[in-house]
């Protein structure tokens, strides 16, 4: 049977439909609550989806991933607070539109743009995933090691001005990944005689701690009563023909930017949204309206942000390198289900690409439908006191983690990682590289050692592909600070120029 039919056929099970519906509602809700990110929601849901079969489990997690990227636009537009980091760029024009009495149009345009972006991403997944994995099948240990380094450095490189901290976090993650049995000799390392650690640190528990518990603890530590009141005047809802024409160019720009950013490992919708918004501004005939309630601005930002989803899934499944932080979490669940993301996954199970694409497609259509329902009820949710949210997240995290292996040890690990995550957050250290290092540590070590055993360092140095990937990795770390430094120097030069000009005019 063709993988396409087999893949889509697997979705005919009513349980899958139920899981998609549950994921859509849950994803919209977590997206709409500022402070609950998609990463956190997927981490949280991992706890209770592990007992499901892989396809229904993936249906819940992927739908949360898709739906959270719709729901997070609501607070971004109505209270100028991104529901998740992916909707940062939505606030640029969304809130301005809402203040102008055009909240209804902003919400509808955002929903259509998000849906279009997600569909572009899904198309990319269906077209690119299998060829990319076939290409990656030729990778040897040297190339695989280079790929892991690439994933880590991309995540560190985009952590804005925190290169050394990002590197420290990545190395800490790799060290944590060394806990358990040595991947080649099987010797126990850092296990302290605890049998639960012989398989390594339970990474679902660690991820729930780093993303879920740490976020809540940070909110508890810093919470102040907010003075922001949600917008209640929505104005018209549906775009006119003229509005649709205005949206065409930013839809195209956003799709292009998001598609490219999505494929780059470890970069997510937040970066794509800002880049897409900026590129659409450059391409616009009315750039001066961007940031002041531009329909083009909100369309470009949301299209670009959601177009990353398919690319992220492609990179994650085809290469085994997480496309973004949500995918880093999802890899953890997949491994538990016996799905090992990486080049051989699609060679062995090509139908999985179509099952995943089908789940994302249904989730997009369903979530678009929910988004187009009038959002007045959501405004009430935005006023929900924080203590309810904190209590629910904390207890669900604990019980969800316990449910993974019915072991209280995992709950302890989760709480310990929650405190570690809080420390990282308070001192501006990104948690993403820690998770990536933890997940990819064994892969990095195993491949590096194998590569060195086979032919020494020259095995890596003589592989053109490995060297290209490693060079890009180094550039990803070196270029952003150099560019920053160049920008600062140029700004200083500009600042001193008027003085010089003044002096020149005074000189007789």
């Amino acid at each position: 049977m063709s993988p396409l039919i087999e893949g889509f056929g697997a979705l005919l099970d009513p349980t899958v439909a139920l899981c998609i519906a549950a994921g859509a509602v849950l994803g919209m809700l977590v997206g709409a609550f500022p402070g609950v990110t998609a990463t956190m929601a997927v981490a949280l849901a991992s706890g209770f989806t592990l007992s499901l079969d892989p396809i229904p489990g993936l249906a819940v997690l992927l739908t949360i991933y898709v739906a959270a990227n719709f729901g997070d636009r609501v607070p971004a537009i109505l209270i100028n607070t991104p529901g998740t980091p992916a909707s940062i760029a939505t606030t640029f024009d969304g809130y301005a539109m809402a203040k102008q009495g055009r909240a209804g149009l902003a919400l509808t345009a955002s929903a259509f743009a998000s849906a279009w972006g997600t569909l572009v991403g899904i198309a990319l997944l269906m077209v690119a995933a299998i060829p990319l994995s076939q290409l990656a099948l030729n990778f040897g240990p040297a190339e695989m090691f280079a790929l892991v380094v690439f994933g880590l450095t991309m995540m560190i490189g985009v952590s804005g001005g925190k290169i050394t901290k990002g590197l420290m976090a990545g190395v800490l993650g790799l060290l944590l990944g060394a806990v358990g049995r040595d991947p080649i000799t099987g010797v126990a390392r850092f296990t302290f005689g605890v049998p639960e650690l012989s398989e390594g640190i339970p990474f679902i528990a660690a991820i729930i701690g780093l993303f879920g518990i740490a976020e809540v603890l940070d909110q508890i530590l810093t919470h102040r009563r907010s003075g922001v009141t949600p917008i209640t005047q929505f104005g018209k809802w549906l775009p006119t023909r003229k509005d649709w024409r205005t949206m065409l160019k930013p839809l195209a720009v956003g799709s292009g930017v998001g598609g490219v950013v999505g494929v780059v490992p470890a970069t997510g919708g937040d970066i794509a949204g800002i880049l897409g918004w900026d590129q659409a501004r450059r391409a616009s005939k009315t750039p001066e309206e961007f940031g002041k309630g531009s329909l083009e601005g909100i369309t470009a930002a949301d299209t670009s942000s959601n177009a990353t989803l398919g690319g992220s899934v492609t990179t994650t499944l085809a290469l085994g390198i997480p496309g973004d932080s949500v995918m880093a979490v999802m890899i953890g669940s997949m491994v538990v289900w016996g799905i090992q993301p990486g080049p051989s996954l699609f060679a062995n199970q090509p139908d999985l690409v179509y099952s995943i694409a089908g789940i994302m497609l249904i989730a997009t259509v369903l979530t678009l439908g929910i988004s187009l329902l009038r959002m007045r009820g959501v405004v009430k949710l935005l006023d929900l006191p924080r203590h309810f949210l904190w209590a629910v997240i904390l207890v669900f995290c604990m019980v969800g983690t316990y449910a993974i292996s019915n072991n209280i040890f995992d709950v302890g690990i989760m709480l310990a990682f929650g405190l570690v995550g809080l420390f990282l957050r308070r001192f501006g250290i990104p948690a993403g590289p820690v998770v990536l290092g933890l997940i990819l540590g064994k892969l990095a070590e195993g491949n590096l050692r194998r590569s060195l055993e086979i032919g020494g360092v020259s095995n890596i140095l003589t592989s053109p592909l490995a060297m290209t990937i490693l060079t890009i990795s180094v550039l990803a770390l070196v270029v952003p600070p150099l560019r920053e430094s160049w920008k600062r120097r140029r700004a200083r030069t500009r600042a001193t120029q008027p003085d010089t000009a003044d002096r020149d005019t005074l000189t007789p």
């Binding site: 530590l221 919470h223 006191p385 001192f427």
Partner: protein, 166 residues
């Protein structure tokens, strides 16, 4: 072509106090990194060599990483001391927040003990009520109805549907 700054990216938008560079603050992660690296190095040296099947000992990778972490921590300390950068600081913690945090952690520890002795449904409802109270919830709806409903949902999901032995 517009060259206006991107809103919300921090260019000139954060309050001045939040952007003041602090050398001492940046030393904390560096010192923590050094401490973790040193501890990892000591522990790595105690890993048994085992029957060496290959030219690389099981210690090789963690020792290398520990040294790398220490090196990066020193580099971070040096860079942030020599050229303190005005990075966006995290939101400031409040005294009430710190008290809340300690109380919530204590409540979670207490829950661990209580769950051992009392039925899951009772201990979890008590925990929900405790967490809500510490978070600022008051009144019978917040302290009675909310804990009972959320515990029921939790038990239905995990205990009944997923058959987790709670």
């Amino acid at each position: 072509m517009s060259t206006a700054p991107i809103p919300g990216t921090g260019e000139g938008s954060a309050p001045e106090a939040a952007r003041t560079p602090s050398r001492l603050r940046e030393l904390v992660p560096a010192l923590a990194g050094l401490a973790v690296g040193a501890a990892a190095l000591v522990l790595s040296m105690q890993i048994p060599e085992g029957n060496r099947l290959t030219q690389f000992s099981p210690r090789w990778w963690p020792e290398g990483l520990a040294l790398l972490l220490m090196g990066l921590s020193l580099l971070h300390a040096g860079l942030s001391w020599a050229r303190p950068r005005a990075l966006e600081a995290p939101e400031e913690a409040t005294r009430a927040g710190a008290v809340r945090l300690v109380a919530i952690l204590a409540a979670i520890l207490g829950y661990g003990v209580l769950w051992y002795f009392v039925d899951f449904r009772v201990s979890t409802a008590v925990l929900f009520a405790g967490l809500t109270y510490i978070g600022g919830g008051r009144g019978w709806k917040a302290l009675l109805i909310f804990p009972v409903i959320t515990t029921a949902v939790l038990y239905l999901l995990f205990g009944v549907l997923l058959r987790v032995p709670l």
